[in-house]
């Protein structure tokens, strides 16, 4: 399985990528992923690539990913650009607020857009930095072939910073 995570610097995309990789590894899957560091932080657009299974390179060609996870609605275009026909694109956002041309283009290419209001949910949970895990949790529960919620819970326990584990687990299971 090949997927991209798209977001903005500071939204915890590197953390989300690590959680996903740890989850896959705990299931005995091989995995290789690539992250942006350095100049790409500071609020700029960020893209992570993840490949689950027997691959040599973490990079993914435009139009071939099986799944896109957009941690920011403003990066929906990045996610849509990378997925193939028939794929799913989970996005942190509200359908009514997503650009109409993006929705139309996705529909024409048979791409399912699954909006999750992770910003709204994270505010209700009092965990503003948990939006990334809310979106990942949605993928864990709905995407076939993706590591399941239990694997993600294990990963969150392994790599959460001290004192954030409970909040992170709550975020994971909330959408």
């Amino acid at each position: 399985m090949r997927l991209v995570l798209a977001g903005r610097g500071g939204q915890g995309i590197v953390f989300a990528t690590r959680v996903l990789a740890e989850a896959a590894m705990s299931l005995g899957q091989d995995i290789i992923c690539a992250e942006n560091h350095g100049m790409a932080q500071r609020g700029g657009s960020i893209l992570s690539y993840v490949k689950l299974g027997d691959y040599a390179s973490p990079l993914i060609r435009i139009g071939t990913a099986d799944l896109a996870i957009c941690l920011d609605a403003r990066e929906l275009a990045a996610g849509l650009l990378y997925v193939k026909r028939g794929a799913t694109c989970i996005v942190n956002g509200v359908r009514e607020l997503l650009p109409a041309d993006h929705l139309a283009a996705a529909e024409a290419a048979d791409i399912t857009i699954d909006p999750v209001d992770a910003n709204g949910i994270s505010a209700r949970l009092g965990h503003p930095r948990g939006a990334n895990l809310i979106v990942l949790g949605r993928a864990a529960r709905t995407v076939e072939g993706f590591p399941g919620l239990e694997a993600f819970q294990h990963a969150v326990r392994v790599i959460s910073a001290p004192g954030t584990e409970d909040k992170n687990l709550e975020a994971l299971a909330s959408a």
Partner: protein, 609 residues
């Protein structure tokens, strides 16, 4: 054996500690930074006795590691590729002297480039320096290659380069950790001036010995290894591929995806090129496609290139990262029938550029500089604050420390032209000042160059993830060490105008810059140094809470706050044509209140009824 998910830089670090290295040094720089940090993490986790340091610059890092190797220890030094330029003076000399304990140099290239000034290829540097170069294609391979590099280095008494790239450094992969071997013993320095202090006459002899070493290493590289071998050997194809580094992995995945089998010479040993192996492979095919990044180190070394396609003949784009879609297009050029399909949907992706963080102390410093001397030339430098280009506060960005030298150069050129009013304000960060700004400022002082130098001191190397500076008083592994402040250095250089200020005091800073400029105009004046001190906002809170509000009636849409100040928490509402504050990201530093000329941004408390 434990399996751990590690960053490529962690894999390189693992190779260093598993090989029993006694010394590891580095200067932070993307994409190399985490190598030393991961060495420190493993060292602490496994209670290893390895000396680690963040050096003041890459040449210093190289020399410290080299000396340890001359004494018989295994040592490693890591840097981003432009850091190898800084270290090159010693690197080229060290090739002649050689080493005793294995020495591995890890320069990290940045095809793209994502976070660098150049797309230079450190493998070409290795040819120039006559130092062997290995080129891993995955993090796992990088770990194994580092181990091999130490053995190779020790066997031939020559430093060895393991060249990584962004897609190795910042890839992440599970790796089976092996226990570190014991460090080499005993070590001693056997005095041998003809070698370790060779004069030009002896250098000729050493050059001959170096050439002999390279010939032996070339022979060693002819052998098949896990990283130099032909994949899909038996497949019938008119085209053969030679690939190294991250793009080797890209093309293997791509061929698999396309259901194609093309014989591929995977070449992990790039210099010296195993010539018999390569020419033997080339002879078997009608056409050869060479895929490598970021330049053409393999291609240049192939003696007969008449059937070789690659970066040099333009079949492969001569610049830029070889992403899978680029490689797919290249395959289409040399293999009819492999045309690229149209994308699933046509949509334009707008890439948001990075900006200085809300509350960052650099922003008010840049703003004050532009307010104080709006017509000045602003030479800039390398760090987060290069992002001053967003608000036109950085006019030049050349290399580490070049803000100071470029300011001097502008001054001397303009003075010669007879320019009446020379206005120059240079900006440099704290770590960059220590790295390369010190000789530059000394030179400015003793040539009587005149400009204002604003040292943006955030107490940390922020861009690369909060490494200590020489002023921090602690080292990579957290141990306490003596510190030197920027002020001590500047005073020692003989500069007589030195002021320190918190850049949040924006009006005072504007006046101070004007005063500094006056100092540069006086006959007995000189360079004016202003140290703008404010800890990185990602590491500490602004230390004050001044919530601001926009009074919509006062906002006339002039956008001065967006263009001159450029805080990411200030948003333009295209419908109302007014500015708004984004609460989610605002850190309530309150600086923007001073920026609005129409008093449309005010203290929230002043709005209370």
């Amino acid at each position: 054996m434990t399996r751990e998910l590690v960053l490529g830089n962690g894999a390189i670090a693992r190779g260093i500690i598993e090989s029993g290295a006694a010394v590891a040094t580095a200067y932070p720089g993307t994409p190399s930074t985490e190598i030393l940090e991961e060495v420190v993490r493993f060292k602490k986790a496994e209670a290893l006795d390895i000396y680690t340091e963040w050096s003041v610059n890459e040449k210093v890092a190289f020399d410290v590691a080299l000396a340890a190797s001359i004494r018989g220890h295994r040592s490693a030094t890591a840097m981003k590729m432009v850091g190898l330029n800084v270290a090159s003076d010693s690197l080229l000399s060290a090739a002649y002297l050689g080493v005793k304990g294995g020495m591995v140099v890890v320069p990290c290239d940045d095809p793209g480039p994502y976070s660098s000034q150049t797309e230079q290829d450190s493998r070409l540097f290795s040819i120039f320096a006559k130092i062997p170069a290995l080129d891993p294609s995955t993090p796992r391979e990088a770990r194994d290659m580092v181990g091999y590099a130490f053995e190779l280095s020790e066997r031939h008494e020559l430093p060895v380069i393991v060249r990584a790239t962004t897609r190795i450094c910042h890839a992440r992969q599970p790796i089976d950790l092996r226990p570190p071997i014991a460090p080499r013993t005993p070590q001693r320095f056997k005095k041998d001036p003809h070698r370790w202090a060779a004069t030009p006459r002896h250098r000729l002899t050493l050059h001959g010995l170096l050439n002999e070493k390279l010939a032996r290493i070339c022979e060693e590289f002819e052998a098949e290894t896990p990283w130099t071998k032909v994949l899909d050997e038996g497949a019938s194809s008119r085209v053969g591929i030679i690939a190294s580094g991250a793009v080797c992995a890209v093309v293997r995945d791509l061929l698999e995806e396309l259901g194609l089998k093309v014989p591929t010479l995977k070449l992990g040993t790039v210099y010296p090129l195993p010539r018999r192996r390569v020419t033997g492979f080339v002879e078997r095919f009608e056409e050869i496609l060479v895929l490598e990044e970021p330049d053409a180190a393999i291609e240049y070394q192939i003696p007969d290139r008449h059937k070789v396609r690659g970066r040099l003949d333009g079949t492969v784009p001569p610049q830029g990262e070889l992403l899978p879609n680029v490689v797919r297009d290249v395959l289409g050029k040399v293999m009819p029938g492999v045309e690229s399909p149209p994308p699933a949907l046509s949509i334009e992706r707008v890439v948001e550029p990075p900006r200085l963080c809300p509350g960052c102390g650099h922003r008010p410093a840049f703003y004050a500089m532009r307010k104080a001397l709006p017509r000045a030339i602003y030479p800039g430098d390398i760090g987060c604050y290069t992002l001053g280009t967003n608000t036109r506060a950085v006019d030049t960005c050349i290399a580490m420390g070049a803000s100071v030298t470029v300011a001097s150069g502008f001054y001397h050129a303009m003075k010669r032209e007879g320019v009446e009013k020379i206005e120059i304000v240079a900006t440099i960060g704290d770590s960059t000042f220590f790295h390369a700004g010190i000789p530059a400022l000394l030179n400015a002082r003793v040539t009587d160059a005149r400009f204002v130098l604003l040292i943006l001191d955030n107490d940390i190397v922020a861009m690369t993830g909060f490494q200590p500076t020489p002023a921090s008083g602690r080292q990579a592994d957290g141990r306490e060490v003596p510190s030197t402040t920027i002020r001590q250095v500047v005073e020692g250089l003989g500069i007589d105008f030195i002021e320190e200020i918190d850049p949040y005091e924006i009006d005072d800073l504007i006046q101070l810059i004007k005063r500094g400029h006056e100092h540069t105009r006086r006959s007995d004046g000189g360079v004016a140094v202003i140290i703008a001190r404010r800890p990185c906002v990602l590491r500490s809170t602004p230390g004050r809470t001044v919530p601001a509000e926009v009074v919509p009636d006062n906002c006339d849409g002039c956008q001065i706050c967006l263009k001159l100040f450029g805080c990411p928490s200030l948003h333009w509402n295209a419908e109302t044509e007014k500015v708004e504050i984004e609460r989610r990201t605002c850190v309530e530093c309150g600086i923007c209140i001073a920026v609005c000329p129409n008093e449309a941004i005010v203290k929230a408390e002043d709005l209370q009824p």
